[in-house]
Symmetry: C2
Subunit: 150 residues, 2 copies
């Protein structure tokens, strides 16, 4: 309907609110040579980057280190924010400085206490899209090549 | 806590209920040679298969036809059903017989009216996992090699 209210995820401020929310869970798709991997992880938003924390030998970390790219989803299946991002750096949890502090402050767990097997993965977003249903996808790119369009 | 109720997604019957629910949305991860793709799609559950419907030239369809494998998620990020599945067959929407009827009955849209550009993708599940949070993942495999373990 023409007068239907715009969803919360169609403006940059709303996307940033979602990324910065306390305990922001995200679906993280990565891939290796054989196929896709997908798992939910809790993220933090710090310095315009997405920060994930996972075991160093978990498929998500291995795939990102080997291949660099992830596609993430936040929100519900009918009010979606999709983010294509690439791995910028990997940090040992015990030596992550401000990244570790930011993650622990936003999340409901502190990977800095999880031991040497865990790492922070810092991802740089390149493209952000938001839509409710498939007919809305055209025109719903909010970031392209790392630059906000809205 | 020891007396905490088991989540709905840890028994086969509960997984089947989720798969058979009216308008069952699922996150579908696929990959091509370059990296992962991820999008929410509405599925149907028919003849022990997951049925998706999408444009023939959409990344999900192209990746599945080229590489065969998908990893799907249903439920919330803290009450997850993860399914590894492979493409069994692709059906033109106008000639999909019982598959098309089942999809239209379970979903809130009817791809059979969407035109030649759309196809049904019939996926055979190979592995099903369910968990609430990461500490539960061990022992939460409900299907392996296409056979229910529970």
């Amino acid at each position: 309907m023409a007068d239907e209210p715009r969803t919360r995820t169609q403006r940059k401020a709303d996307v940033l609110e979602l990324l910065s929310a306390k305990v922001a869970d995200t679906w993280v798709a990565t891939s290796d040579g054989d196929g896709p991997y997908l798992v939910p992880l809790t993220m933090a938003w710090f310095d315009d980057r997405i920060v994930l924390a996972t075991a160093r030998d978990a498929p998500t970390a291995r795939n990102l280190v080997a291949r660099g790219g992830a596609r993430l989803a936040l929100g519900g299946t009918r009010d979606v924010v999709m983010i294509d991002a690439s791995l910028e750096r990997t940090l040992p949890v015990a030596d992550a400085g401000a990244v570790g502090e930011a993650y622990a402050a936003q999340s409901d767990w502190d990977p800095r206490t999880a031991g040497d097997g865990y790492v922070f993965l810092v991802l740089l977003p390149a493209r952000v899209q938001a839509w409710r249903e498939v007919n809305e996808i055209p025109g719903r790119t909010l970031m392209r090549d790392g630059a906000w369009l809205v």
